[in-house]
Symmetry: C2
Subunit: 315 residues, 2 copies
């Protein structure tokens, strides 16, 4: 597989679908994931191992994980809220599991119904389980630092607290941590500062990805800042669907299509064929005809004479 | 007046209103401009001195300029397509006039119905006129390099051509040049490169501002790149209304409200009170009830605990 500069991790099938009421049929999810992988997307968060009672939209996650594993070259990621979810994700064969820890403890209690100590207990148990697995069956395990840039309930989240939680997650045995702008509060300066802080605390290799929202329109500006700082994995959602249903007003992932356009235009390789990616929208629209699909690039179309690999460099 | 880090030049009354069919009543324009100046906006492009036959929406520009001049501390800018327009702008008392020169000559012919040589002739005549004025009546004169990042008609616009046109405009006597992403084709890397190129050709003080569009969602990412490069003036439009009616698909200025939110959150001073700015939307909506007003920050609201002057720095 050809080399890439930036790994785009598509989170639409998880973060997108969990935040809309319509339940996408399992076959449509498979078609979506298949089409996106075929367009060159190398990592997809395909679902979340939460009780179906809480999120019936994602009740088929185990089946989706098993299917997605059959797609060549695709890293199959899943969210797990707790030990039980991790057990199920491992059973299903996820390549990567992410457990979100809300740095705002108020949000943690509202979102996961757990205090920090209770979340960290789950992490400890998950690592114990992972340690019993043979290396080739062990998924990578990320601790996602939610509300890292501020919280709709608490307001400002102290950066020292983010760093403390990062350290704890890694000490317990997470392979890496991620910074998550759950609430769409992040700005480029804050992002640069927080990335540097976390790196100084735990090392560059322990933080490679950020999960940004576009709630206040700063999604791509933040993505740019993260990239320029040295982040190499960016989460985004096809058509920008999705968000966090437990943080009111905090909807809206970065639109994958717009992100790929920006990276392409800057000459950064993602491995994704933008034309093919734009066609994937049809698969989603067909299955979810009543849902809005966002994206400036899809609306405006590509520039005249455009091709990926850097724009405007002709002298 | 307090010091600022970034000058936001509001272009809604010109770039916004010229691209919609509804004609905003003169009194409503005055109320809009008054309210925005009162919110702390220090420069507003209030209209364009084009023949009323072509843009009846802006037929009252002379009256608007005269009114805007009564607002304390406000720099009153106007677009002029040619010598005749500049004459009228000077008569009306504009503090700043901008003549757009499309670097894509195809676009120049379509937009201004003039070749490059013809546009440069107008520039020469305008400078001759300016040179006859006493210093305190002489507006500053900017040459706007339109389609600097690509053209909907020509595709890629060679960067050497942009630099050549910048040199010519300054040699003829423009006080400065601006880079204009008329078509919404710019990306952050290209923007950084082109700013550096122009600076290396004509000097830092001759290029301080960029006019960006959000056509493909990259508006704020581009604004961030320009700022970090050292640009200090950014054009934007309240509610994101506007665009270029002669470049199909190239609508959509940066939303002033989202831009101010980003700058505020980064601790960069604009002199603008964001709460007051958000209230200005009502003035526009009342006068143009059928027009869409855009903006992520207005939709989502401000973060909990937010105040301007840098977000998230608490340790």
């Amino acid at each position: 597989m050809s080399e890439i500069d930036v790994l785009i991790s598509e989170v639409g099938p998880r973060d997108g679908l969990q935040s809309i009421d319509t339940i996408m049929p399992t076959e449509a999810k498979k078609a979506w994931i298949q089409a996106e992988a075929a367009a060159g997307v190398r990592e997809i968060e395909v679902g979340s191992f939460v009780p179906p009672k809480l999120l019936p939209q994602l009740a088929d996650t185990a089946e989706i994980v098993a299917y997605a594993r059959t797609l060549p070259g695709l890293t199959v990621a899943a969210l797990v809220p707790n030990f039980k979810g991790a057990e199920n994700a491992i059973k299903a064969g996820a390549h990567k599991i992410t457990l979100p820890l809300s740095v705002s403890e108020t949000h943690s209690k509202a979102n996961l119904r757990k205090t920090h100590d209770q979340v960290l207990d789950e992490v400890r148990k998950i690592v114990e389980l992972l340690d019993t697995l043979p290396a080739d069956q062990r998924p990578s395990f990320e601790g996602g630092l939610s509300t890292a840039f501020g919280c709709t309930l608490e307001g400002i989240v102290p950066e020292a607290k983010v760093a403390e939680m990062a350290r704890k997650l890694l000490e317990l045995g997470c392979d890496e941590v991620g910074l998550s702008d759950t609430t769409g509060y992040a700005n480029p300066k804050q992002l640069r500062r927080l990335i540097k802080l976390i790196w100084s605390e735990v090392g560059h290799d322990k933080l490679t990805g950020v999960h940004l929202h576009n709630t206040r329109g700063l999604g791509l500006a933040n993505a740019l800042a993260a990239l320029e700082e040295g982040i190499t994995t960016l989460d985004s959602s096809l058509g920008g669907i999705g968000g966090c249903p437990f943080a009111p007003g905090a909807s809206g992932n970065i639109v994958t299509e717009d992100l790929v356009f920006m990276l392409d235009a800057m000459g950064l390789r993602t491995g994704i064929d933008l034309d093919a990616l734009l066609r994937v929208r049809e698969v989603v629209t067909e299955a979810l005809p009543d849902e809005d699909m966002y994206g400036f690039t899809p609306d405006a179309g590509l520039p005249k004479g455009y091709n990926a690999g850097g724009w405007g460099v002709a002298a």
